[in-house]
């Protein structure tokens, strides 16, 4: 849409003003890493962060949430609930923007999930362009997610003393006009933007040894690959890789009651296909009994299944799973290994 500029000194007042009207969340330091959390002081905001521990999807699909409350005595009564509130999410990286498309598809196809869509609608997305590789594990350039041309309300690029702000929606425009001291980009700003963006690409390595569009075919051919058994030897089945993944959305549903056994709530919580019991049914049959089958399922989902269903790859190259994995299983290495075995 249109291009604007906010001076860096104007960022803190912008965020502070947003805080008057919205819940404002963004990347904050957490120990040696970063996590999205509610901003209490604009000075804490770390737009220079490297990838957060959990992806910002947690604001659309929280790790745990209530779906409804119920009362069992005196005729069952049920009250559906959505925990949602107007939120501005600051600092989403472009890999995570791409991942949000997968979730948007998954939660709106067929039967729309009101719990997700309500939160999604109430969120304003302010993303930020990465100019340096965030960490050793990421491979966004290979996956085509190192930049994005939509999916945000506002998109920031660091120009040094100021941010270039690309307006991606009418809501974004309104947000900018109402809360920020911004000026339309001048010729010199655009020149600076071109320089910054032109300089960024060579800094990122291309890690995938095949073309990203080749992945679904590669995965099809790799169903029987010995690689799955090899990986299963070292995999701990700890589930971290799926929990930190921005495109994973599987969940479990369960009821909780108070001690009177009368009042309770139905809740859901992120689940992981890497865990033993994920596909087990009553009677004990487990449709993916071996860890090799579970690992294969995960990678098939990333590289092929979700593309078939949602027309978007299930891996955006953020590297979170590789960073969390205690035994360093990284999708790009797995894809490359499959490619080499096939070749």
């Amino acid at each position: 849409m249109s291009l604007w500029v906010i001076d860096k000194q104007a960022m803190a007042p912008f965020v502070a003003k947003l805080m008057d009207d919205y819940r404002v969340v963004g990347p904050l330091a957490k120990g040696s890493q970063f996590a999205f959390d509610e901003v209490e002081d604009p000075a804490d905001l770390r737009l220079d962060y490297n990838t957060s521990i959990l992806p910002p999807k947690k604001y659309f699909q929280p790790p745990e949430e209530r779906l409804m409350t119920f009362r069992r005595n005196g005729g069952t009564t049920v009250q559906p609930i959505v925990e949602a509130e107007p939120t501005v999410i600051l600092g989403i990286h472009t890999c995570d923007l791409h991942a949000m498309r997968v979730l948007d598809e998954a939660f709106t196809q067929g039967y729309p999930d009101a719990h997700y869509t309500r939160r999604r609608r109430q969120a304003m997305v302010v993303s930020v362009e990465c100019l340096e590789p965030c960490m050793e594990h990421s491979f966004c350039k290979s996956m085509g997610t190192l930049t994005a041309d939509d999916g945000y309300d506002l998109h920031l690029t660091d120009l040094g003393a100021a941010y270039a702000v690309d307006v991606g929606s009418d809501e974004g425009k309104a947000l900018l006009e109402r809360f920020a001291e911004a000026r339309p980009a001048a010729e010199a700003d655009m020149q600076q933007l071109n320089k910054v963006l032109g300089a960024k690409w060579p800094r990122f390595p291309y890690k995938l040894e095949t073309e990203v569009d080749e992945l679904p075919a590669l995965m099809s051919q790799s169903y029987e690959s010995p690689v799955w058994e090899e990986l299963a030897e070292i995999c701990l089945a700890c589930g971290q890789c799926t929990i930190v993944c921005p495109t994973c959305f599987c969940f479990d549903v369960y009821d909780e009651v108070d001690l009177s056994l009368q009042d309770g709530e139905r809740r859901r919580r992120w689940d992981s296909c890497q865990l033993d019991l994920f596909a087990t049914v009553a009677g004990g049959e487990n449709f993916r009994e071996s860890q090799a089958a579970r690992l294969r399922h995960r990678f098939m989902r990333k590289g092929r299944y979700l593309r078939k269903k949602y027309d978007a790859l299930g891996c955006v190259g953020c590297g979170r799973c590789a960073r969390s994995c205690p035994v360093d299983i990284s999708p790009v290495n797995v894809f490359n290994e499959l490619h080499q075995v096939r070749a």
Binding site: K30, I53, L54, Q240, I243, L259, P326
Partner: protein, 260 residues
Amino acid sequence: MAENGRPKVAFFDFACCEGCQLTVVDSLQTHLELVEAVEIVQFREAMTEKGEDYQIAFIEGSCTREQDEARLREIREQADIVVALGACAHIAGVNAIKNVQPSLQDVREYVYGDKWEQYDSYAARPISAVIEVDAVIPGCPIDRFEFLDVVKKLLLGKKPSVPDYPVCVECKLKENVCILETGGTCLGPITRAGCDAIYPTYGVGCLGCRGLISNPNENAMMDVLEEAGLTVEQLMSKMTMFNAYEPAHIGEAVASPAEE
């Protein structure tokens, strides 16, 4: 169950520190509804009466001598449901560290001094080694909310199951910085969740007090810990702190790096 709809419940202790019963006493104070939901007929830690008519028996502590076996069988005979309360009853816990010492006799003399002969004691065992157990509440000590959760499941007639996935799941859901990533050691990837990853949340590696998940990849865990710089002795003491009762795989896994 009982006439008034409240099941009769009894608590028993064997070799342990009674810390788990203290957690129960605590829950009785924080959750007064518990007293209305069940009728406690025997609980040495909290009352003097000793009712022998009960449906649910919570058993704390390990079996460490022959007399324990007879008493356990008696309880099993009376109770409809037997619940192992805490790591000592569930997996023999810290009591089993003595099992992996070179000589049990040395342990006895070390602990009881020259009076060792008066104290009958054999290798510590979880109660499931002696009687059938219907449910477990893992942990050292137990988690109050998990205790309440198991009680509720029993009252609702559900399987009183506890999680069978690793601590890492809960740890990541809480978005903790991983201890393995910052150079520490942690048994979270093979330890049964349910404690809400309390140790890692406070920056301390998990020691496995809740026992292992059903299908732990112990060899991979050993490799991870080794890479983090643990020596064989450190590995052994870490892996057996709470999980010495069934050290078979652990023993093998430890043996191999030692041979190199």
